[in-house]
Symmetry: none
Subunit: 178 residues, 2 copies
DNA sequence: GAACTCACCTGGATC
DNA sequence: CGATCCAGGTGAGTT
């Protein structure tokens, strides 16, 4: 058997292992590694990708085979694996932060994954939006990260005006009720 | 050009201008004014609505054109405008309580909107977002206007708690980022 | 009819 | 900056 070459890795996101049942394949990897496989000669002809199936062997001992539908979502300009993917997630208990790894040996494709290393993720305290407030002029009591999170969630920024106020050390918490 | 006939108005809800990116079109208006347009002869055949696009001219001077995807959501049994709608909301800075207005002249459709008049309806005591830890007890420095703006934007109200904090003279400003 | 699947859509982040 | 990418959603169809 030919030597196994590494193609690419992806650290999976919460969406990749969640209810969306799809893995987003970063475009440059998809176009470098999967498209040539599927379209041996011609140009992209993305339309022909409809229904394409990629088959992988499990790098683990079992030699189990996996089949994933691979397609291009033109609305989001991205490549995805859909059908079959969630079975892999379940079987391997893939979690956000883990890494999936794709290799090949000639025409044979292989998939593997490994557990995340290092610090477990910021254990999303969901219903709660931890918000540390704000800022005064002199003393910015809040991390920019917290602030950006607020902006991301609500689409607006909060700003505290009143430069002559004593710097305040407030810790704000915002709980979404519904 | 034919005379412009008024079709219907809707006072938009917080959801209509919020993150759901859709306008709910009251069913009787949808079936009276839009369905005949899309299904000139036949019965409802809701399936044929998939992907229907309605094009409107802006009643404002510019004559700008708007295209909205119009469809039926069987889960909620309601007609909606989806794709394209949020662009209109942004462009016109449409806010909850404002009115959108639909007219036609022959086959041409027109859209317009107008600002809410009068006092904003008693700040819809929606689900409450308890906002803990902040600010003025005796002295509520957050202007009511800022607060109403928040309610308008998010459809929820904020409550300030933390009676034992030293009264702070902060002025919370909501600054729209975009 | 609940759960799953999938094509479509949007906005934040980034280049 | 405008354009692109992609993470996170949605509804509709299927099982």
């Amino acid at each position: 058997m030919r030597r196994r070459e590494h193609m690419f890795d992806k650290v999976v996101t919460p969406s990749d292992v969640g209810k969306l049942n799809r893995l987003v394949v970063p475009k440059h990897f998809a176009e470098r590694h999967f498209l040539p496989q599927l379209l041996p000669a011609a140009g992209l002809a993305a339309a022909r990708l409809a229904g394409a199936v990629l088959r992988f062997e499990d790098s683990r001992g079992g030699g189990r085979a996996w089949a994933f539908r691979f397609s291009y979502w033109s609305s989001s300009q991205s490549y995805v694996m859909t059908k079959g993917w969630s079975a892999f997630v379940r079987d391997r208990r893939l979690a956000a932060g883990d890494t999936v790894s794709f290799c090949r040996a000639g025409a044979r494709l292989f998939i593997d994954c490994r557990r995340r290393r290092g610090i477990p993720p910021p254990a999303a305290p969901k219903p709660f939006v931890p918000f540390m407030g704000l800022v005064a002029t002199a003393q910015r009591t809040t991390s920019d990260e917290a602030r950006r999170q607020f902006v991301r969630l609500f689409g607006v920024d909060l700003e505290v005006a009143g430069a002559d106020e004593p710097p305040v050390l407030l810790d704000l918490q915002l709980a979404l009720m519904r």
